[in-house]
Subunit: 340 residues, 2 copies
């Protein structure tokens, strides 16, 4: 990369590098004539200050790191959208790393970002994450940290979450209210806190309504994919022909259920009512349109960035930042897939 | 941010900073005893080398910049996926900026990345981009550049594209082959090369088949959105009730057409056959399933990163890199929306 340096400007004008540097910073001990000559040449050569050198002086990189399980994912891409828009407005750049739901990769990426001396880190944990030593290291190094969506409760950092248990309870209560008696839950993997909480919301709501919890009606995703929804729908209709409601961990899985039912003459919602979670764009264009819980992805990204910026600024002023947990509101969206 | 410095290690051991630095780099003029003491303390204090200082020495940031119109977009998120996976494998970090289809923001972001001294820049132009001074500045500064998907033909950089004209011709020929006589094109905005090329592919294919080109059958999107597809479908069926085929600039717009037709009793494909472009995930779960042109997003990201890395490496070795243009293969995917 060829870029104009202070040295070139100094050599061209026959003055010292120090004088060039002082002239560009408008120091009083450089004559106006020299200053003007330096500025004119710097403009002509399109000189831009070396940001690494600036970083060394200010100890700020004006860059934050974001570790996210998947990019090709409607919810996470909405979160990224909120984060980079907010970062842009505040003069920060965002390095994005994708853990591909792998704890090994996630740990490596945390180390990379620490080494890069980012000003702060935003993270949503991978499904494999079952320990948090790497998050502890971030805290030990005094690097501002905000967890969002898939979090570790034990780590004392700011968090942006939704009330997964409450939102899941609302989804299941909706199925019960429209008359469902035998409700399946297609849950997420074992580790993530949000999969645990949505499962608990399901179980508690059944019990609250006097419906016996039956573990054989819970199906567990490994990939949280369309294909799993499709396959589980086949198993459900074969093994439990009297199931009349399905609550899926996320819309992508629920769409797999719809696809199987549409292709195999299982009437939705008459035979089985289906509700997803997250309000992916495609939910509203499915036939029938999919009921779901709206989860504000973009807002989650914005709030997470702003919490991180608060912490960066408090640290800069030498203060002590007290981590905050922000719980965002979710909304039940009832569409044709649960309209009996 | 509190991080261990060479100075702290030097002070703790009562030796000079230079000696600490040399010990960590395993220089021969430091005694094994001192080396061991420095390494042990560095490990204990979890010392990580300051990457900015390393950058100043090597003049490499091991960071590249990516400017993309939209993140919440199935095709672009697939491209991002390919780029950051490939970057990760090669030890590079990726700063992602979103132009929101604005030329003003795109120019500002190019300036930011130049100032940040990234090792290279990957860009897909915004729909508003109608000049390329900012791209010329990247080239003038000798910063490696790869354009992908939405490109400026006049800029002498590497490019990763598809043959939009040929792919569009294939889509339109498919509609003609299944018997469509009056075919609408819902095109993209005026500036982007790919929207121009898809339109030309449509026009030329009509002419090649002896069908008169009728400008009143071309509808122009501003946002390239679901809503526009929905609205245009209403106009098309009202103003041209004898239209029997629609070729849309992208699947999102085609899905808007399907939604309007489904809600208003217009039978697809019997009354109107519909084909999109890009093979978004949701196309295969629509009712009816949407025919489309598959465009390899992930592969486009991988190839773009690898071309950039080639250029970075050639420059590092002092060679002259000759920009390459890679044209990726597309495939017609015929589904129920064009199965008469």
């Amino acid at each position: 990369m060829k870029a104009t340096t202070l040295k070139e400007i100094a050599e061209t004008l026959g003055i010292s590098i120090t004088t060039v540097s002082k002239a560009l910073k408008n120091y009083a001990d450089v004559s106006p004539k020299t200053k003007n000559a330096v500025i004119a040449l710097a403009e002509q050569l399109q000189y831009t200050p070396n940001s690494f050198a600036v970083n060394l002086r200010t100890k700020e990189s004006k860059t934050i790191g974001l570790i996210i399980p998947e990019v090709v994912h409607h919810f996470f891409s909405s979160v990224i959208n909120g984060i980079i828009d907010q970062a842009e407005k505040n003069g920060y750049l965002v390095i994005i790393l994708q853990s591909n739901e792998s704890i090994a990769l996630e740990k490596k990426q945390v180390a990379l970002l620490i080494n890069k001396r980012v000003d702060g880190i935003l993270i949503s944990l991978s499904n494999e994450s079952n320990n948090d030593l790497h998050l502890k290291e971030i805290l030990q190094k005094g690097i501002p940290l905000v967890q969002f969506d898939k979090i570790s409760k034990l780590i004392h950092s700011s968090k942006v979450i939704i009330d997964d248990q409450k939102a899941a309870a609302e989804a299941v209560q909706h199925l019960i209210d429209i008359g469902c008696k035998k409700i399946v839950h297609i849950r997420g993997p074992i580790n993530p806190q949000n999969a645990i909480d949505r499962f608990l919301g399901y179980k508690k709501t059944l019990e609250k309504n006097g419906i016996l919890y039956d573990p054989s009606l819970v199906y567990t995703c490994q990939q949280v994919s369309f294909e799993e929804g499709f396959e589980f729908a086949k198993k459900i209709t074969t093994n439990h022909p009297d199931v009349d409601g399905v609550f899926a961990i996320t819309d992508l899985v629920a769409v797999g259920v719809l696809a199987y039912c549409n292709e195999n003459g299982v009437k939705i919602p008459q035979q089985i009512a289906v509700i997803g979670f997250s309000n992916w764009f495609m939910s509203q264009v499915m036939t029938p349109k999919l009921s779901t819980i709206d989860q504000p992805g973009r807002e989650m990204g914005e709030v997470a960035f702003n919490l991180l910026l608060d912490e960066i600024n408090v640290n800069k002023e030498g203060g002590t930042f007290e981590p905050k947990t922000v719980t965002l509101k979710t909304n039940l969206i009832a569409r044709a897939s649960t309209r009996k």
